[in-house]
């Protein structure tokens, strides 16, 4: 039974490349108006999943429901989707405007409607003043923006963004982030794939973590992070703490455990990793106990778990491996 509040439902999707399972029993859904992130390292199966969602690749098994209808690759169902592929899928020998008009006309836009939509989208991605330049003259960030713009020409209901910020400067990245948030506020549902956890954390309402073609976790960002444990207070001391001093610190309320290690930066210093239930509330009592114990405090930071830690705890490897 398809849930009408979901714009996309993917059930038990499988795809093999020869013997290798590229996508293995993938199941997830995207709610209307949601930004859903697919996070995973390169080769996790994100692009293959997107290719099946847009009908370029045929799944080995499984089903895809788009707007409550079984996706069959028909022109109508394809028109619901917009895609900004990982590659810069634009023509360098065409101008920005010509690129948009071409991709718009593939979705049967024409005449005044095509003109209007082209200008709207150019303005949305901030390329109106460079619209008549050949795109080979654009910067990397401008090309990325145009790549995103081409996927929006036909006013899709679900936008698939495949690693949309690869190889661009921070300014263009922010421009894309703003654009994605604005489009989402206007009601566009978005599937955002990336291997940059910071992007997914910052943008997505819910995140699916993929590894080796499988979905290893799927939830909101706070819920996922909570599975990786609590925050840790990292303290750098000017000297090595004695066992007795560490025992004193352990006795503080809320402290779960303390790891102690020597460090040579600066020389003779040591590092304490204090695991606590509520690290923020522990800070003042920890600092006063350190002072009363005669230990010299060099620095103190609160390290909160990230999606990177979640991925590490789920798969035993780093996202950037």
């Amino acid at each position: 039974m398809v849930n009408p509040s979901n714009i996309l439902e993917v059930n038990d999707l499988c795809k093999n490349y020869k013997e290798r399972k590229a996508v293995d029993n993938l199941t997830f859904h995207i709610k209307r108006g949601e930004i859903f992130g697919l996070l995973g390292p390169n080769g996790a199966g994100k692009t293959t999943t997107l290719s099946m969602l847009v009908g370029i690749l045929k799944p080995l098994s499984g089903t895809i429901y788009l707007e409550g209808e079984r996706f069959n690759g028909s022109p109508q169902s394809r028109s619901i989707l917009g895609i900004a592929p990982q590659e810069l899928a634009i023509y360098p020998k065409l101008t920005g405007r010509e690129n948009l008009r071409f991709f718009g006309s593939l979705y049967r836009l024409s005449g005044a409607e095509l003109d209007r939509r082209t200008e709207e989208i150019l303005s949305l991605v901030g390329l109106s003043d460079r619209a008549d330049n050949l795109t080979e003259e654009y910067s990397g960030g401008m090309k990325r923006r145009l790549n995103l713009a081409a996927g929006l020409m036909h006013n899709p209901k679900l936008l698939l963004l495949d690693e949309p910020t690869v190889g661009i400067d921070p300014q263009s990245r922010n421009h894309i982030f703003e654009g994605v948030r604005r489009l989402n506020k206007e009601g566009l549902s978005i599937l955002y794939t990336s291997h940059y956890m910071e992007e997914v954390e910052a943008l997505c309402h819910r995140v699916g973590i993929m590894d080796g073609g499988r979905l290893v976790a799927c939830d909101t960002v706070p819920n996922l992070i909570s599975t990786a444990g609590n925050a840790v207070v990292v303290v750098t001391l000017g000297e090595e703490a004695s066992d007795a001093q560490i025992q004193e610190l352990r006795s503080l309320p809320g402290v779960v455990d303390i790891e102690c290690m020597r460090t040579d930066e600066p020389i003779g210093s040591s590092l304490l990793r204090v695991h606590a239930l509520e690290p923020d509330r522990l800070l003042s009592s920890l600092v006063s106990r350190l002072n009363s114990s005669g230990l010299s405090l060099l620095s103190l930071t609160v390290q909160r778990p990230t999606l990177e830690d979640v991925f590490l705890s789920l798969t035993g490897k780093s996202l950037r491996d």
Binding site: R78, P85, L106
Partner: protein, 404 residues
């Protein structure tokens, strides 16, 4: 249909904005055609093989002049060259491709030969010194040596024979009328050169020109180069991700491919028109002979070439792979099939094997319609084979075609 047109227009725009591609598509064929035009200039006959020779005449006799005239009648362009020292070395160093030296006493030796062979009998003619000419040929142009030697020999023989006739008339006055009649007839006949066997070409009203013989091969060769362009455009679209984007739109893959191939076919037709114009103006190619049949051959070449390009795109993964594969394949096919070199130069076995290329079948159809002037039905088999080549290429390519 509308989506095919959209893809086609976009591809044409991209092609005409790519200067490098334009050089390869139009510049290269034009340079080739002009070069071939220069090599094969003339309107037929021996003009097809442009022979010229520098002549240094030390003898300056009536016989030496007659020999030169006979050479000119045989189609050799003769340039007079003043006597100069070290001429053999100059030829050896390529300053002259060929020089004919008529030595002093050449006329006298013709007389002596004609008189002595008559008075001593043909059997002992070798006992007397023969008229001797010296032909110097550039070592780098040895392919001309045999033809030139034969033609110069023929011209000299004709001179000597005329002299012999004069002696015969003197020696046998009773046969004067018979000899006179033979001489007159001899004057009317063509000079002593090899003639095309006109029996085989008796039905044709217009003789084939060098353009008819050379240009269709070049055109076919360059039309098949379109395979390169088709394969590269698909590989590029795949690499750039535009293929994925297009295929994720409501555009069907068949519309996409048809639009792209029609754009290439349009370029092919423009290329064809340009080469035909060049053929007409530089090599006197006939376009009124079997125009529909010829057009069909070229269109089938475009069909087979686009199919071949599509197939190649499915076999190679990178631009480098494709370029290497296509260049080698098309060059070998061009040489092997007779597009660039006459197939008659190939060993018999290879001539037979050359029919594994679509080029060879296209050329066979051209030979039948344009050179042999046979009717359309006789070219049906090569035309059908050409169509079959294209269809097999398309079927295999579409079966293998994948986006990723």
């Amino acid at each position: 249909m509308r989506s095919i047109g959209i893809v086609m227009r976009k591809d044409l725009k991209l092609i005409f904005r790519d200067r490098t591609a334009l050089i390869f598509l139009f510049g290269l064929p034009v340079i080739f055609a002009l070069l071939f035009g220069m090599i094969y200039r003339g309107k037929g006959g021996t003009g097809a093989l442009h022979l010229s020779v520098q002549v240094t005449d030390y003898d300056r006799s009536a016989e030496s002049r007659t020999t030169v005239q006979n050479m000119q009648k045989a189609g050799i362009t003769v340039h007079s060259l003043a006597p100069q020292p070290g001429i053999a070395k100059k030829v050896q160093h390529g300053n002259f491709h060929d020089v004919l030296i008529i030595p002093a006493g050449y006329g006298a030796s013709i007389h002596a030969w004609a008189h002595n062979t008559l008075s001593s009998g043909a059997s002992s003619s070798n006992a007397f010194s023969k008229p001797a000419l010296t032909l110097l040929v550039d070592p780098a142009q040895t392919q001309l040596e045999g033809i030139l030697t034969a033609m110069v020999n023929g011209a000299a023989m004709r001179t000597a024979s005329t002299e012999k006739v004069r002696y015969l008339v003197k020696a046998f006055p009773a046969s004067r009328s018979l000899i006179s009649a033979l001489t007159q007839q001899g004057k009317k006949t063509a000079p002593f050169v090899l003639n095309v066997n006109d029996k085989a070409t008796g039905t044709r009203s217009v003789k084939p020109t060098p353009g008819d013989e050379q240009m269709p091969g070049l055109i076919i060769y360059f039309l098949f180069f379109m395979a390169n362009s088709v394969a590269l455009t698909l590989i590029e679209e795949r690499k750039e991700g535009t293929l994925r984007r297009m295929l994720s739109s409501p555009l069907s893959s068949s519309s996409l491919l048809t639009g792209k191939l029609l754009a290439r076919a349009t370029v092919g037709i423009l290329q064809l028109s340009l080469l035909i114009l060049l053929g007409v103006f530089t090599m006197h190619m006939h376009i009124t002979v079997a125009p529909f049949g010829m057009a069909l051959i070229y269109l089938l070449c475009i069909y087979a070439a686009t199919g071949m390009g599509l197939l190649i795109a499915t076999l190679g993964r990178t631009q480098e792979q494709i370029q290497g594969m296509v260049t080698m394949l098309l060059l070998v096919m061009g040489l092997f099939s007779g597009c660039l070199l006459p197939r008659v130069l190939l060993p018999k076995f290879m001539r037979q094997v050359s029919y594994i290329t679509p080029h060879a079948w296209a050329l066979k159809a051209v030979d039948d319609l344009l050179l042999r002037r046979l009717n359309f039905t006789s070219a049906l088999i090569p035309l059908c084979v050409l169509f079959l080549f294209g269809t097999v290429f398309y079927v295999l390519a579409l079966a293998r075609f994948r986006v990723d």
